[in-house]
């Protein structure tokens, strides 16, 4: 069987995985290459204010000329907003805020949460009980509201959003790693490692950790999607990054007043972008879960 046929068969067996991988790969590529893809600087205004996107009929012609490099002036593919900022360039640049925040926050919480969960699962005692109660407490409160309080009072910038989300998401990974550790530690290989005289810490780090990691990695894919929603939600209510940072939530919020008057493009394009992106991460998470459960 050729590699492409094998790939096709795999994609047919796990459609959500395939959809997720495709969307997430595209988003990652856009994130990496947006400075070269964006026709306008995303943070400086152009003289065209609230210019609509080109008519659908004209798009193929314009696209052909753009590819051949025969455009008289760059096109506002998605139109411009009330300040004359090019929406296409901003939609492409936004994942540099949204995705970077979501991934960094999850990296922090996954590393710390897995470590804490591993220790709590391996050494059970009053301290691990206390840690679990604290993480219950953190989880019991609506994440968006705690995020809002932390970010606004610490100062509204990307770094603080990463720290706040990193803190708020840690309990999720603590719980996952702990449950998995508890189930792993009673298995034969742990017993066997003890029998050959390995130290407890070595067993935990070298043998239990790799086995307990899978659920956290699957969860991470879903959580990156949630992280994007949080980042956008925070700036949507005015508690996240500041304008004119290109960020999907800010862009949607900025276009709401236009939208009520029929100027749909400032909100719709970032809305579709975030909608597809988070669906991609949810789909990837679901696909990984199915592969792992088999």
């Amino acid at each position: 069987m050729s590699p492409t046929a094998a790939l096709r068969r795999k994609a047919a067996a796990y459609p959500t995985l395939a959809v997720g991988v495709i969307i997430v790969t595209i988003v990652l590529l856009i994130t990496l290459t947006s400075p070269w893809l964006a026709p306008f600087p995303p943070m400086s205004a152009t003289p065209d204010v609230e210019a609509p996107p080109p008519d659908l009929i004209d798009v193929p012609g314009l696209l052909a000329r753009a590819i051949l490099g025969r455009l008289d002036k760059p096109v506002h593919w998605f139109g411009t907003d009330a300040s004359g900022l090019d929406i296409f360039s901003r939609v492409l640049t936004a994942p540099r805020t949204d995705l970077v925040i979501a991934i960094s926050a999850n990296a922090i919480s996954m590393v710390s949460g897995t470590l804490i969960g591993l220790l709590c699962g391996f050494y059970r005692g009053w301290l691990s009980e206390l840690v679990m109660r604290i993480s219950d407490l953190l989880q019991s409160f609506p994440v968006l509201i705690s995020g809002m309080i932390l970010v606004t009072l610490a100062g509204r910038n990307a770094g603080n959003i990463i720290l706040a989300l990193g803190l708020l998401y840690t309990p999720i990974y603590v719980r996952l790693a702990r449950v998995e550790t508890l189930s792993q530690r009673s298995r034969g290989y742990v017993e066997a490692s003890r029998a050959i005289g390995l130290r407890e810490i070595a067993i935990a780090a070298r043998h239990v950790l790799p086995n307990a990691l899978a659920p956290s990695l699957i969860q991470a894919s879903v959580m990156v999607g949630f992280g994007i929603l949080m980042t956008a939600g925070l700036s949507f209510v005015g508690a996240g990054v500041r304008p004119p940072t290109p960020e999907w939530g800010l862009m949607i919020a900025g276009g709401v007043d236009d939208m009520i008057q029929g100027v749909w493009w400032p909100s719709v394009f970032p809305g579709v972008a975030i909608s597809l992106t988070v669906f991609g991460f949810a789909s990837l998470g679901n696909g990984l879960e199915r592969v792992y459960a088999r």
Partner: protein, 342 residues
């Protein structure tokens, strides 16, 4: 009955400890943050004296232990222990009054959204469970994966564009009632209930009309995870031994479905608990888009204004409400399935 009672009592005690812990944690946490509410109050170009005066009037120049004592009500003035949450730093109004106005709006939104989502998700989830793997099941799966991942603020905005601007069947997203109409007298704060009490059907219709889009948005987003969980519960219930037994006894399908239903009801209650925090967080966004003036929108204002007493009040009330919700769910669960308490 003894174990049941102990179970519930234990939950109440744990919940109260959590509540106290959270109130204290929030009190210290917001004061450890680098934000400066006094500077926010007097503006950018204030003199150092004005800043100091503002700091004094907010009580921020006192040691933090004294501030806590004042907040709790040990310094003569009524505080938390007397049921007083203090005055808002931005509006000057008592926070209890402000929360009394805003909380019912949110509870109304959440209750209607949960009911709506359940009414949508229950038949769909059940239908999918009767034929797992069929085309209806697959289509529903894609829908619930999609809906469950979506940003509700974006769908709220989109619904406004479609149903207000294009189709003109929804009111503008500018509040809970038509500003030109006559609102019902406030009795409970729930506009639906108050207008019924006042026999004011115009206000009732208007209130529901204004809730149409916010509830539709929440139902859309909520139905995703709800369908998924109801389907799983139903599949599990239908595949269990007692259903097999009922079938082999030759009971009619209608009766079997009733048994399965009762047993999948308990997990459905857990579901409300799981989704509750998520829904409350989402209420912040929905209330902001539609200017509903609920506690979610109030908390945004409190946070953005560095209004510490209001932030503390909001955290306290939201936690207390979820405590009551979880407790009610636990009790219902024990009543439905006594094995839980054992």
């Amino acid at each position: 009955m003894g174990t049941r009672f102990r179970f519930v009592a234990r939950r109440i005690v744990i919940g109260l400890i959590q509540l106290i812990g959270l109130v204290l944690a929030v009190f210290f946490l917001i004061r450890l943050m680098p934000a400066d509410p006094a500077a926010r109050l007097v503006g950018m170009n204030a003199s150092p004296e004005a800043l100091a005066a503002a700091r004094h009037s907010l009580g921020l120049d006192r040691p933090i232990a004294i501030q806590l004592a004042g907040y709790l009500g040990f310094l003569g003035e009524p505080g938390l222990l007397q049921g007083n949450l203090g005055k808002s730093w931005s509006s000057g109004a008592p926070i209890v009054t402000e929360i009394k106005q805003t909380l019912p709006i949110t509870l109304e939104l959440i209750t209607l959204s949960f009911t709506g989502a359940f009414l949508v998700a229950f038949p769909i989830g059940t239908l999918c469970a009767t034929r797992p793997g069929g085309w209806a099941d697959k289509g529903t799966f894609v829908f619930s994966l999609f809906a469950g991942s979506q940003p509700e603020f974006w769908w709220g905005v989109l619904f406004i564009y479609i149903f207000f601007y294009l189709l003109n069947v929804a009111p503008p997203p500018l509040g809970r009632l038509d500003p030109l109409g006559s609102p019902p007298a406030v009795v409970t704060g729930f506009i639906t209930i108050d207008s019924l009490l006042a026999w004011n059907f115009v206000a009732l219709a208007d209130g529901l009309h204004h809730l149409m889009l916010p509830v539709a948005t929440k139902v859309f987003v909520l139905s995703g995870p709800m369908i998924k969980m109801i389907r799983q519960n139903m599949v599990r219930a239908l595949g269990s031994d007692y259903i097999l037994y009922a079938e082999s006894c030759g009971l009619p399908p209608r009766m079997i479905a009733r048994y399965a239903l009762r047993n999948s009801l308990a997990p459905a209650l857990t579901l409300i608990g799981v989704l509750y925090g998520y829904v409350l967080g989402g209420a912040v966004l929905i209330e902001t888009i539609f200017s509903l003036g609920g506690i979610g929108q109030y908390s945004v204002g409190a946070v953005l204004n560095f209004d510490y007493p209001a932030i503390q009040g909001v955290v306290l009330v939201i936690t207390a409400v979820s405590l009551v919700v979880y407790l009610a769910l636990d009790i219902a669960q024990v009543l439905l399935d006594p094995r839980v308490a054992g």
